[in-house]
């Protein structure tokens, strides 16, 4: 009893992001058909994910919320202390504020650097027509191994006093510097490390660039637009949804950075590279203060949530969607 095409009542619904055409009759019909048994099958199929989510994410997250109100030294039972951890954090822990400042600086500088770099490389790759695969692989490589300990150890060697970087400077007759030993430059080595791992953002940018219809460029060049104008009038506006996505992901990433500061500098010199997560780790695992560590984790969660919300809110102003009606 499927109605003929002409009888169907199509409606257009405006979602904020996209214009989606759907047919309520069709959907209602297909819903009716599904039996309870089919639903069960569906849930069983996604149960590996569901179990994973609950066991490995939901349960630990909720447990850590509980722990953040307790004093817990890993063994024995947590004792409820109410808001003590939070109070101590905000009023009586200078290191907390130091690590917070360092993290904001780190993410604030490193994330834009990575995004700009990723975009520039993506633009270059978009133009190349020969051996694209090779270049992409090579440029993506640092990101594949980037989060790993091995790269951090390599970084430590590169920027060490007798490392490759200083050797090069020395051969060129330039003055060498103790990059990791100087509190002023240590954080910058970590920022460069973060920027260098631009691969995944680059791939996403590249996909976004490929999605921009060629016709726009052709039409505009007929009208006499120069490449610079094309970039700012066509490429950039049409890329904003991808920029939004990358920004959000990288901001979250940047605030949660741990491995570089742990491996490359271990927070030193003079605590100039103690990122928030490293300090949290120290509290939790070096001084056995799980409750305090959990409380710190929740503060970070709130900060990241606020930042993400802020970016999304501001996106109304600068993100353009192709199907959008103004």
């Amino acid at each position: 009893m499927i109605p003929k095409k002409s009888e169907q009542h199509d409606s257009v619904v405006h979602f904020p992001n996209k214009k989606i055409t759907y047919n309520p009759v069709k959907i209602l019909k297909s819903r009716k058909k599904k039996s309870g048994y089919e639903n069960l099958t569906g849930y069983l199929f996604i149960s590996p994910f569901l179990i994973g989510l609950m066991c490995l994410t939901l349960y630990p997250v909720l447990y850590s919320l509980y722990l953040s109100f307790t004093e817990y030294d890993l063994l024995g039972t947590p004792t409820w202390t109410g808001l003590d951890n939070y109070q101590r954090m905000f009023t009586n822990d200078a290191m907390f504020w130091t690590s917070m400042k360092t993290t904001f600086f780190y993410a604030g500088v490193a994330v834009p650097i990575r995004l700009v770099f990723a975009l520039l490389v993506a633009l270059a790759l978009n133009k190349i027509t020969e051996m694209v695969g090779l270049y992409r692989t090579m440029l993506y490589l640092p990101s594949v191994v980037g989060g790993s300990i091995a790269i951090s150890i390599m970084w430590r060697q590169l920027f060490g006093n007798d490392g490759a970087f200083n050797s090069i400077l020395d051969t060129l007759g330039l003055p060498t510097h103790s990059w990791l030993g100087d509190p002023g430059t240590a954080i910058w080595t970590l920022i460069v490390l973060y920027g260098w791992q631009f691969g995944s953002s680059m791939l996403i940018f590249l996909a976004g660039l490929r999605n921009i219809p060629k016709t726009y460029y052709e039409a505009s060049s007929v009208d006499g637009a120069r490449p610079i104008q094309q970039f700012f009038k066509i490429t950039l506006p049409l890329l904003t949804p991808v920029i939004l996505f990358n920004t959000v992901m990288q901001v979250i990433n940047g605030f949660m950075a741990f491995t570089p500061s742990f491996i490359v500098t271990n927070g030193g010199p003079m605590n100039s590279t103690v990122l928030f997560v490293l300090y949290m780790y120290r509290r939790a695992f070096e001084f056995f203060e799980m409750g305090y560590g959990s409380a710190m984790a929740w503060v970070m969660l709130v900060i990241i949530a606020l930042l993400t919300a802020f970016i999304f809110k501001s996106s109304d102003k600068w993100v353009h969607y192709e199907g959008e009606q103004k």
Binding site: G36, M54, L74, L75, G160, G268, F285
Partner: protein
Amino acid sequence: MKKKNLLFVLMIIFTIVLSACSGNKASNDAGNEKENQKEDGSEKITLRMSWWGSQSRHDQTQAIIDLYEQENPNVNIVPEFTGFDGYFEKMAAQAAGNNLPDIMQQNFGEYLNQYADKGLLADLSEFVGNGTIDVKGVSETIMESGTQEGKIIGIPTGANALAAIYDKEMLEKAGTALPDANWTWEDFLTAANKVHSELDTYGTRLLEPGNHFEYYLREKGFKLFNEDGTGLGYDDDQLLVDFMEMNKTLVDSGAAPGYDVIQQIKGVEDELIVHGKAAFDFRWSNQVGALTSAAGKQLELTLLPGKGNAQGMFLKPAMLWSIPESSKHKEEAAKFINFFVNNIKVYEIGGSDRGVPLKQEIRDAMASNLSETEKKIFDYIALVTENSSPIDNFPSASAEVLQALADIDELVIYGEMTPKEGAKKFRKQAKEILSR
């Protein structure tokens, strides 16, 4: 209908998941029983064993494990090893997951106390009592270091002491007198400066704020912590000021490296004295073997400087073997520890890397075929035994206090803070941490 189904399925999943997550006792016990049955049938037992150390220690310990497995074919030992950095963090994570190894290398001082305070370590009195672990002939004071509130929670692996290690060749080349047991801090400073000016290298490695400041205090008749562990054991901040000033002067004149250099040393094999970049290094005597083999030349050792060094020096259990309370194979683990501390072959493989053997009979048995370095270490421990006073215990919060001291020392050496400000700040922070 649909909603009911959904709810039903979700509820089942939730119950399963939550009961699985909370790792309830019933299922653990069931697992226990199963393994025990295996044991009775003399099936293979797997013991996990963890330690920290240098590469030479890893190799030696592997060889010792192989030896034990040959003699006890039903035991399989799974090694888990790292450098000292990160070892206790890893252990803490395992403790949180109730997943500590069956045999763990434990450190005297704040770490032992932390684990003991939390009831993580099994009381080994039973095994010592029934002879599974034979400690006859080990001195009372050393055994006491692994004992707390009447419970034996760690079996010492050997004796250890801080040592002033020096490169004889370098000192001779610089034309400075060789140190002996009666040398003073002034002698040390003169020699370090002379080496620096004559040989254009560092004179000494930078002194560590933790171990070396503690020695410095003891040498002057004070302690780092007071008796009940509620505060610092010295009243006059000038002591810390002097100590930091001494280091600062050394660093400023170039006779000792700053933290930018120290930070990049990752492991004993990488130390300055190994590479001929410093003539002095103060560290634990059991590391002399690893240092010497990495350096490829003979290093000498003597007591740390100071007029009161007989009072400042102390013997320490190099490290301890502990069995966590959570282990399912305590008896088998105890047997292995017994093997480790009593079998002469173990010391033939490992030498004094885990400290000088505690039993006279083992030392005597080894005496005939000791290497030159081992002989020096044995003699040194004998010297310290004559010239030392008992070790001080640390409160369990001392890890954090020592971290605060290290942070402040860094600030002072970098010139961000005067020694005077640093000493004051340290007292304030230590008070805060210890009273928490």
